[in-house]
Symmetry: C2
Subunit: 212 residues, 2 copies
């Protein structure tokens, strides 16, 4: 196998190291964050570093890198306290990727990249009309990670909209049925191919396959 | 669309809410964390909440839930300071899921679930022999998230092993070629279906499709 240690990683050229380290963990959900500033300008940006922090109450976490191009997103969230997380699906990959371009603050990525902004239930931040999973969140106190200045932004779920076709009776959202996208590294979009769903694992008991 | 607000989420039955909130964000990388305690007992556990925190130096983050069954993993990392992150691939899904059973502390999930432990470069914690991406990490100070007691554990990459067949000339790890697994919610394993790879996005410039 190809071996890198901490020193050989540091001596790689920047581009190679960025590609390598960004693709270490495989495919992460590709989600669009929708925001609006106090002047009413909307912003839309692709994020893949989203955590599930807890179900009761429902809390999400988003990691912002200090060198991130998504400064308008964080700025708008700090200014207004609200944002949306919207799923992406096959067919949206090129428009979703285009939101990562460094547009001027007055340009809305909704318009520039071909997404329709949608407002629901009086929530301040715009949702993505075509996304089958849309989450409206209220920002909670930020956590600054001293090691390298990254910021973990927490959000409490205030509204959740799910297309009924992809919501199972058990409460699961069926992402392969929804054709949800994930992104590996910085530029590679993948769809989801169902493999297996298993029962709760117990020692000394065989797993059962559940309906996918 | 089906609509839930913060109050209706709280009034759902626990199982339904857990399924719903855990599956909100789509598919996340399914990775195995290998550890060993001071007595030499090894442990292996499946995690899907792994963040990329930075490339220079290479830092990863793992979210531990307070109600997690993976207490041995965190305990071993706190005791010894070292752990490994290993990719999972198609064909490993049942054994990987089985590591989430609550085995006694003296039982190694490597043995109980059918994985071979491998030691490389004198690193303390065991790697998963068959994983095409293996990362050896040194624990950094933990971050406790006050909102609900979850813990973000940081790890600095000390060793990285990548199978040469899946490492592109540009430094990308090709996860769909590796047949890497992702997990949606708590129990659904998915493979990756290549869709598109795009050039760096710029305003007013069309994206180019790159070779996948």
């Amino acid at each position: 196998m190809q071996h890198f240690d901490a020193n050989s990683l540091l001596s790689l050229n920047d581009r190679y190291r960025t590609n390598l380290i960004n693709s270490l963990h495989g495919a992460r959900p590709a989600m669009l964050i929708g925001t609006k500033n106090k002047q009413g300008n909307t912003n839309l940006a692709l994020f893949s570093q989203v955590l599930h922090l807890g179900a009761n109450p429902a809390l999400c976490g988003i990691l912002f890198r200090p060198d991130s191009v998504d400064r308008h997103t964080l700025q708008n969230i700090r200014e207004t306290g609200f944002f949306t997380l919207n799923s992406t699906t096959e067919g949206m990959e090129d428009r979703a990727h285009q939101t990562s371009a460094r547009y001027a603050e007055t340009v809305s990525e909704f318009d520039a990249c071909g997404f329709e902004a949608e407002y629901r239930e009086g929530f301040f931040a715009p949702f993505v009309a075509e996304s089958p999973v849309k989450i409206g969140l209220k920002a909670q106190p930020e956590i600054r990670i001293e090691a390298n200045g990254t910021i973990l932004l927490l959000g409490a779920v205030e509204h959740l909209f799910v297309h009924p076709d992809i919501l199972a009776e058990t409460g699961h959202i069926n992402h392969h049925h929804a054709k949800s996208l994930a992104v590996a590294g910085l530029d590679t979009y993948v769809g989801l191919k169902p493999i297996a769903r298993f029962s709760y694992a117990k020692p000394d008991q065989a797993l059962q396959k559940l309906e996918l």
